[in-house]
Symmetry: D2
Subunit: 322 residues, 4 copies
């Protein structure tokens, strides 16, 4: 079957529907908060569902906010509050004081891949203060210990991210990992307007920087929540996808009925082959990104870090396991 | 006729050839320096030629270097030397000591548009030293006075670039303007591998940042050389273009002869309409750019500034008017 | 007499008091807003006063806010509001719609000198929108036209800042210039906690980057308000000053009465000579700056730009000429 | 005894000499390479020597290059070559293929503390390539595996640098750590002109960022070479030191013989107390740094990374254990 590249479970699910593929073992729920804000939940429940979706079993929650990329401090706060709620829903911990390691994935030097490092820059870090002065340093009874690391990418470090994080976990023993990463979407209209939160961690092949190894409970021994915003569409995906639409349109168009009937006889695989031949090999190292991506990543990293600050800081955490 | 967006005269000329349009009033010359390096010259000689090309009369010289985007200091120097030769060919001045104002166009905060500002950062600036200490400060008889400015973009300044440059020219009276800008190409394979040098200045609608007003001899009263490197392809262009290729291929393909004969009857305008319908409106604010654009712009700005340093600095200038 | 380097009229005035110099032609007023915030006004009324102070005639208003350098968004807003009030007090214009050019002085690449460029980055720029769509674009009857420029420093541009600004003024004809610059103070305790606003413009020798030429009504033909925050103390000043204190203390100390009586006989000039001999010549290119200056400049530039946005934007301006 | 703050063993040794302290257990060697370049070696051989010097036992090699801070690519290469020689002298390994983890210490956001992170940015990283393709990927028989990490500072990560590095060592098992850090000197004339290389690692209290825990063979279980360039002088140190010189000068000066004889009777402790009283408490969070520190750190990080590339890369390593 013709494959598209997307890190959003929501888009994979949509594609399945477009293609009239019946999905077993996958639940889908959409909740319209207001005219700007929609929260969708995809739950992959079975191994068959996972295989069909090309993504591991688990829960994928997507916050879509049409105005998220605009400059409006109050709205950002609103999204941060929603994000905090979603995180708390997925956090599988029942302890009083939680130790959380936030991992800012991606490459600080490549703008659309810099989301993770920039989120780490803005976090309210507490672990060292609590370790030094005790939790009463914050005048609260229950305080979560937040630490963070920006591991860099393999070309810079010579190490797999997994190796670095596994080492840091051995030494600092967090209860939970939160991995933040920039994602690739299928549709440009989702760029910088969508936050995906999952309890499945980071998986091979995902992210703008394309991780080779997973960061998940199986590989790290600790639960991993991952948070991502799509900041790019692979150039090959955008061309592939629009051309696929073209071929499909031709088969349905009345104006082009003659062509339609010919193309109709083509299998999906043949259509895909036809498209492939015309695609420049250069496109593999290219991505599509909005003109104002530098400014957007700066702003969105703040929305996410605030969401994490609200979710884990300020004792709000306890609310979730009352 | 179906229009593509490109700031490279070379690509417009290629497109004309593809479409079998006979170009009058346009001369073309290609010179293969070695297996890596090709220098092409497009001269638009008549108003008819200008109209057909959608670009003003003048000379457009393109340096294409396959390895230009790779890390190799020596090769970069080689390109800088070639660039200096090309600049000196186009510089219309015969005076002994030339006063040159280099204008670094574009937006420092948007990576693929930051080429101009970064070139300005690396220049060898001499005007203030010569003004203070005389030209013998450099122990040379002939020294060019180099100054530079990064005017910023209109959303940052509230002023047209033209207004700022015209003001600075009035006060500092340079003999020549060199405007450096990031360009949009039609083909991804030209990104970060091509330098275009022209004697026509900067024209409305060109550049990654899309200038609204021209910077040329007519508007500024001083000759303007412009130097650009394509760093993006408009997302609409890449999809348009690949889809156009698809439709064309279908009309020619034996395998799809039935479709071919149907599409063959379509006019270009109809093909274009067909494509337009399928294009997402979001694509208008998107561009396609290589994954390592941050690193590339850093390196390429150095290649250009060295070219300018060689062309105008170090008394090499005199060679050109011997 | 022993000279200290400071760009703050307030510190010059304090030094005069310490030295028991009677100041004629200089008025001083201190207003304690609350326990964190003090506003001081130095008015140099006569040429004699100007000579004694080493600063031109005019009004120098200083906002001192103890918490200004701390992270607290609300407090910042409070200072921005105060700053807007001070600016409106000094703005000598009575027209309905004012055209203001904000000049961000300093060097973007040298952290403690980057205040001006960063303030320019955060401004709400309106001139181009009003020029294109008319003032009703903002749904207001009275809208000020705000433009801004970051001219860079002479080593980067080869031009005096004065030349660039004079050119831009000729082309765009603003009613008022606001020049923002990082300053040098005498005392480290004022760094990042003090805003000086004056109606005298920028004068030779001032600023972290040490301007060679003035930007004031006389040289530009337009009124110039200048706004500055001290971000450095010259290393020579800090050593000079502390050593001067030492020598003074020795002359007064009971414990060192023997030394005291000897030093007492020394003239100020002799004391200064003594100090000079011990000062390393290296200190001339050094400055003293807080460890977190990068973070401070980022934050403070926001406080100032918000002050300007409040003062000139949002129609608040009209209140001042009611 | 009066203490000065310096991370350079060379300066501690000089201070001892100035104060006529006889140093036992410390060897000193100075080697003048040419008029620009001096290499000094301080070897602390005994625990008594270590106590007197306030630094652990080991070898401290200092490369002083007067022109190091100037723009001259060739000269930089020369220093890089010298640095490579010094590193190879200190590297205690005899294996064929060495696995080296370079740690870029310091805070990327604080310019004079960004040396370590910037060195890491420029390294030639090989570990991941050798792990994937074998050492023949480089067409060499002996290739060292270079990896690197920028751990960040505790306020950003909530973790001790030691915890992070210990974790990464457990996972990736390097043979050698090279820790790169920005240092504090006593004298401004050494800033950006001096490289210290030691086999003692990083020790508590050292560095611009003031490390709380050591990174050395004892705490990490792996040999640690440390490389540093002084980029700041503590403001307190510079004032302390100049004032101490003043007091000393007064005791010796003929002109001030009366004062001299009085001060002569003071103990060092009393002199120190006298100085302390006059020092502003603000100075503790201030440092003295050159005006062009941003540019210097950018250049110097390149000199060090090239030194490391030469020392470990390109098979040059084998020469050292032939």
């Amino acid at each position: 079957m013709y494959q598209i590249r997307t890190d959003l479970a929501l888009e994979t699910q949509e594609k399945m529907q477009e293609d009239h593929v019946e999905l077993k073992g996958v639940r889908f729920l959409e909740q319209k908060i207001d005219k700007n804000l929609t929260i969708s939940t995809v739950v992959i429940e079975t191994e068959n569902g996972a295989k069909a979706m090309g993504k591991p079993k688990g829960t994928y929650i997507t916050i879509e906010a049409l105005d998220m990329d605009e400059e409006d401090e109050d709205y950002h706060r609103e999204i941060s509050v929603q994000l905090a709620e979603v995180i708390k829903k997925l956090v599988p911990l029942k302890k009083e004081d939680v130790s959380v390691l936030v991992v800012g994935l991606g490459n600080r030097e490549v703008t659309p891949d810099a989301l993770g490092p920039r989120v780490a820059d803005n976090l309210f870090i507490t672990r060292h203060i609590i370790k030094e002065y005790g939790k009463y340093a914050f005048g609260e009874e229950k305080v979560n210990r937040i630490s963070s690391i920006v591991p860099g990418v393999m070309a810079q470090t010579g190490m797999e991210t997994q190796e670095i994080i596994r080492g840091v976990i051995k030494e600092t023993k967090p209860d939970l990992i939160v991995a933040v990463d920039a994602l690739a979407a299928r549709s440009t209209k989702r760029l910088n307007r969508t936050i995906q939160v999952t309890d499945t961690g980071i998986n091979p092949g995902s992210g703008v920087g394309n991780h080779r190894h997973g960061l998940n409970e199986k590989t790290l021994g600790v639960p991993v929540i991952s948070i991502g915003i799509p900041t790019v569409v692979d150039a090959a995906t955008i061309v592939n996808d629009t051309m696929y639409n073209l071929v499909t349109a031709l088969t349905q168009s009345e104006a082009f009925s003659a062509i339609g009937s010919s193309l109709d006889k083509l299998e999906d695989a043949e259509k895909y082959e036809l498209i492939r031949e015309l695609l420049s090999p250069n496109l593999n190292t290219m991505f599509v990104t909005p003109k104002d991506i530098d400014e957007s990543v700066k702003r969105l990293s703040f929305t996410i870090s605030e969401g994490l600050n609200i979710a884990f800081g300020n004792g709000i955490m306890q609310g979730s396991h009352a």
